[in-house]
């Protein structure tokens, strides 16, 4: 946070009481987003938060910006309207693993493909919270829930792989409890003018508590958090004993001692070809065991909203501003007198 900041975190808080369960990971994410916005030199009124339905989707009510709490799964589509109607706005999409990947999966992949100027944050708690605990498209196979009493038979999505398969220009992953890293990711996503996709592992302490234990537990977290940092070889583990190599068969975890430091994969989120990012996304199929966190992909592509503006400008350049009289006459006329 620069001390020249125009805003305080409190400038982004509303008078509405926050209605998440005590201990919910959503609180931490809310704090991170508010703190991040306070560091930006962007007018508060230029931010628009658009969400669907779900616990996470209550988010906009707690942000003192413009906001729309819409219908289930449609936030990316509605936000596309906001962002293309007025590309000067900074538009955020808040969604959940059910909202964004189950009912809303299509709008999500299309927004990514078109590279709409949106910052999409997926609160992944691997469960349907608001409807009281049914399995979601990111729940693990065999999960016991109210709707899967004998265990879920659904094979989950890997949100990062899906986003990359959908041509996303910016794809990252972080953890609710790590506020600094979350803010880092938010900053990078915000810098990318096109569609950004940030998956946040978010703990639902009521219906899916400890889903991310491997990554959060003091005991295990160091050997399971694989931080992706540009220009650096991918190393992890308590004492950096583990590393990642990538080759024709994909990415795999190796012991640094065996392969040697210089043979580790050096991360480059800016690579035009998403193949490496995809390979890295396959290291873990969920927050189980060693899991990459950070920016998988970050490339610059023309944003949809600005491309639309470009065509408008070009048309006005070429044909001049529209004139109604000319319009209604454009198909040829005759006069009766």
């Amino acid at each position: 946070m620069t001390d020249t900041a125009r805003y305080e975190r409190s400038d982004f808080q509303t008078d509405q009481e926050v209605r998440w369960c005590p201990g919910c990971g959503d609180y931490t994410i809310l704090a991170s987003v508010q703190s991040f916005l306070a560091t930006l030199d962007i007018d508060r009124e230029k931010h628009v938060f658009v969400s669907g339905i779900g616990c996470s989707s209550r988010f906009p009510y707690y942000m003192n910006t413009y906001g729309m709490h819409t219908v289930h799964g449609r936030a990316p589509a509605i936000a596309t309207g906001v962002a293309t109607a007025n590309p000067d706005l900074t538009v955020w999409v808040i969604t959940g693993d059910g909202d964004g990947l189950s009912i809303g999966g299509n709008h999500l992949i299309h927004a990514l493909r078109r590279n709409v100027n949106l910052n999409i944050i997926l609160f992944n708690n691997q469960i349907y919270g608001l409807t009281k605990g049914q399995y979601s498209p990111t729940s693990e196979v065999g999960k016991l829930t109210k709707t899967s009493p004998m265990g879920s038979i659904d094979r989950p999505f890997n949100p990062v792989s899906l986003a990359l398969g959908a041509e996303a220009s910016f794809v990252a992953r972080t953890l609710d409890m790590d506020r600094n890293h979350t803010i880092e990711m938010l900053a990078a996503m915000h810098e990318n003018r096109g569609a950004g996709f940030l998956e946040i592992y978010q703990n639902c302490n009521v219906f899916n508590d400890k889903a991310f234990l491997d990554l959060t537990d003091k005991e295990t977290r160091d050997q399971n958090r694989i931080w992706l940092e540009d220009g650096k070889p991918i190393i992890f583990g308590k004492n950096g004993e583990w590393g990642v190599q990538v080759d024709a068969h994909g990415a795999r975890i190796v012991e640094v001692a065996d392969v040697g430091h210089h043979n580790l994969h050096v991360h480059d989120s800016h690579a035009p070809n998403p193949s490496t990012a995809f390979a890295l996304s396959r290291i873990a199929q969920g927050p189980y065991g060693p899991t990459p966190l950070g920016i998988f992909r970050n490339v610059a592509n023309p944003s949809y909203g600005h491309e639309m503006e470009r065509q408008i400008a070009a048309a006005q350049q070429k044909r001049g501003p529209g004139d109604l009289q000319t319009l209604v006459r454009s198909r040829g006329t005759w006069t009766v007198d």
């Binding site: 009124e45 589509a77 007025n86 109604l324």
Partner: protein, 623 residues
């Protein structure tokens, strides 16, 4: 055009008041084009006219089959007509299937022009003929004129540069030339069109031009064709006219509304027949600042439009029945958010995919009640291609003034047919702009604090400092707009939403009555206008009294409607559905109605309504 043949002296044509012509052929034969060009020339010539295109749901169904037949009907007259005509006086049949599919409509004694080259053995079976209709006497009741159009076209275009089977593609221009001769139409407009469309020296352009002349010359040379006809320009009210297709007029009405509301136009839409051409037309006018977003589906179509509305744009989404179904949930959100949004439903034959290229009026009750919960919204309809501009403008006016989604109902007939439209003085169109909310330093902004007069809430758009606010689909406090689960507040809001829409009745014109008497009122809405009005006028010519009222506003109804209905012994409601307006009228006013309902995917026929009116007046029908 630089060619003398087309301007040669010609036998004096017989003057007729009007004629209905139908061009019919294979989907690949270019009948829509021939018809459109014939119409264009007639329009520029100053006739009144109305058209009825009719094509299969497939792009190009198999050649020579009934399923593959595509037709274009045009009614041209020297007087003020309102329909494309019930039955053609002249039929152009490019092949046996086209003859088979259309002959039963041709008026007895009518003129039948046939492309004899297509009448070969192999084509008869495909069309369901056992013998050659040109020879088995089955056409004796008509004036048949045969022309070997393919041979003559091939011959005519041989120096065009087009070769092989491709030469046959020009035969629709041969037909067009021939028809231009028979009905004394100017061909210069067609010649110009060819020039601009294909460029001066493209082989295809040359071929079409040559075929056009050949057809015209065929008329000159063939004795049997020396009896020609002419329809004088119509005595329409003075003014400047253009021949406009319904969907085009709708699109233009939206652009005009955006200009007069001082709001850039935003269309979020997904292609669907017969609505796609609105998206296509608007996409061509980016210089008006119009943004068109071809969404991944209808839900994203309306979703993006809703987002654009929140951002302060004049927002529209266009679709047909199946798409309206998908928009229902988001429409309900727009309604509770109280944001302006225009939803255009081009009704087509249902249910499900139904008859996608045909007309129906069967989405009225869906528009009225097609949302969960108590979800009232205004419904505006359009009655003809030339009316679509005003209807779209009116829908936009209401949406912005009352901060509400509005459904504009048009249909597949209006969407695709055309008629002369007297150009409005666009500068004289009313200003329909409304101010955005302004921050007041002292008070906190209350997004749901209503204007007493309109009950509409303020419109505060992102980018405006001091008005940051959140709205959503959960019930809100009636003033702050914050989420509220309070029982009384929910009741208050439910009533407010209902009253706001009901009160629009004060802001719309009273329904007007055409005709007289107190026996029978024919009440209609939408594209049945022309047929009803024509029928009513004919009945009145016959000396009987009958009245016609046509509704533009279907929710709320015009303030005087109830009182008007009281005045008549019988209310006849012709609809292209099973009686949807009738249901609304009965529930609202408890008045009995007599329905005249056809669901054939075709426009109403004036004659049928005429018959029905006489039947009612004869006392043959009781509610």
């Amino acid at each position: 055009m630089s060619d003398e043949t087309l301007t040669q002296p010609r036998p004096a044509p017989e003057q007729i008041e009007d004629v209905v012509i139908r061009f019919a052929g294979d989907s690949g034969d270019g009948m829509q084009l021939a018809g459109t060009q014939f119409t264009a020339s007639s329009a520029l010539f100053g006739n009144d006219l109305a058209t009825l295109p009719n094509f299969p749901a497939e792009i190009r169904a198999p050649q020579g089959t009934i399923g593959g037949v595509s037709s274009f009907q045009v009614h041209i007259a020297d007087w003020d007509i309102l329909t494309p005509g019930d039955n053609p006086d002249c039929l152009v049949a490019m092949n046996p299937a086209a003859l088979k599919a259309n002959l039963h409509d041709l008026a007895k004694g009518g003129l039948l022009i046939v492309n004899s080259d297509a009448f070969e053995e192999r084509n008869f079976a495909k069309a369901g003929y056992t013998s050659n209709p040109l020879e088995d006497g089955s056409l004796d009741a008509y004036q048949v004129i045969t022309a070997p159009m393919e041979e003559l076209t091939k011959e005519a275009v041989k120096d065009s540069g087009v070769t092989g089977r491709a030469t046959l593609r020009s035969k629709n221009f041969f037909a067009l030339g021939l028809m231009s001769w028979i009905y004394t139409r100017p061909v210069d407009p067609v010649v110009e069109w060819i020039a601009t469309k294909f460029g001066d020296d493209s082989p295809v352009g040359r071929a079409n031009l040559m075929a056009l002349k050949a057809g015209y010359n065929f008329g000159i040379t063939v004795e049997a064709l020396h009896h020609t006809y002419e329809i004088q320009p119509a005595k329409l009210p003075p003014g400047e006219y253009t021949n406009v297709v319904g969907n085009t007029a709708t699109a233009w009405g939206l652009i005009a509304a955006s200009v007069k509301a001082k709001l850039p136009l935003y269309l979020g839409s997904y292609p669907i027949t017969p609505a796609s051409t609105i998206l296509e037309e608007l996409a061509r006018h980016k210089n008006f600042g119009v943004k068109t977003f071809q969404a991944e589906d209808e839900i994203a179509g309306i979703g993006s439009a809703l987002g654009a509305s929140f951002a302060g744009r004049m927002s529209v989404t266009s679709t047909s029945g199946p798409g309206l179904a998908l928009k229902s949930e988001t429409l309900s959100l727009a309604l509770i958010m109280e944001l302006p949004l225009i939803v255009i439903d081009i009704q087509r034959g249902g249910p499900s995919t139904g008859l996608p290229t045909k007309v129906e009026q069967s989405d009225l009750l869906f528009a009225m009640y097609g949302r969960h919960g108590e979800s009232p919204l205004p419904i505006v309809s359009t009655s003809a291609p030339s009316d679509a501009f005003d209807a779209a403008f009116e829908a936009a006016r209401i949406a912005v003034k009352y901060m509400t989604p509005v459904i504009l109902l048009t249909d597949g007939y209006i969407a695709t047919s055309s008629e002369p439209w007297r150009l409005p003085d666009t500068d004289a169109l009313p200003d329909i702009s409304r101010p955005f909310a302004n921050p007041s330093p002292d008070e906190t902004f209350l997004p749901y604090l209503r204007d007493e007069a309109t009950l509409s809430r303020p419109w505060a758009i992102p980018g405006q400092p001091g008005l940051e606010h959140r709205i959503g689909g959960l019930e809100k406090d009636s003033v702050t707009g914050n989420v509220s689960y309070d029982p009384d507040n929910h009741e208050t809001m439910t009533h407010l939403r209902a009253r706001k829409i009901a009160a629009i009745a004060k802001d719309i014109p009273e329904v007007t009555i055409h005709g007289g008497g107190s026996e029978l009122l024919v009440l209609g809405w939408g594209s049945t206008y022309g047929a009803i009005r024509t029928a009513v006028n004919r009945v009145r010519k016959s000396g009987r009294e009958v009245a016609h009222a046509h509704l533009r506003h279907l929710n709320p109804f015009p303030p005087n409607l109830g009182e008007v209905l009281e005045r008549y012994d019988t209310i006849l409601v012709p609809e292209i559905n099973m009686g949807q307006l009738a249901r609304l009228i009965r529930a609202e006013y408890l008045v009995p109605t007599v329905g005249y309902n056809r669901v054939q995917g075709l426009p109403m026929k004036a004659r049928e309504i005429e018959t029905k009116i006489h039947e009612v007046l004869d006392g043959g029908v009781t509610p």
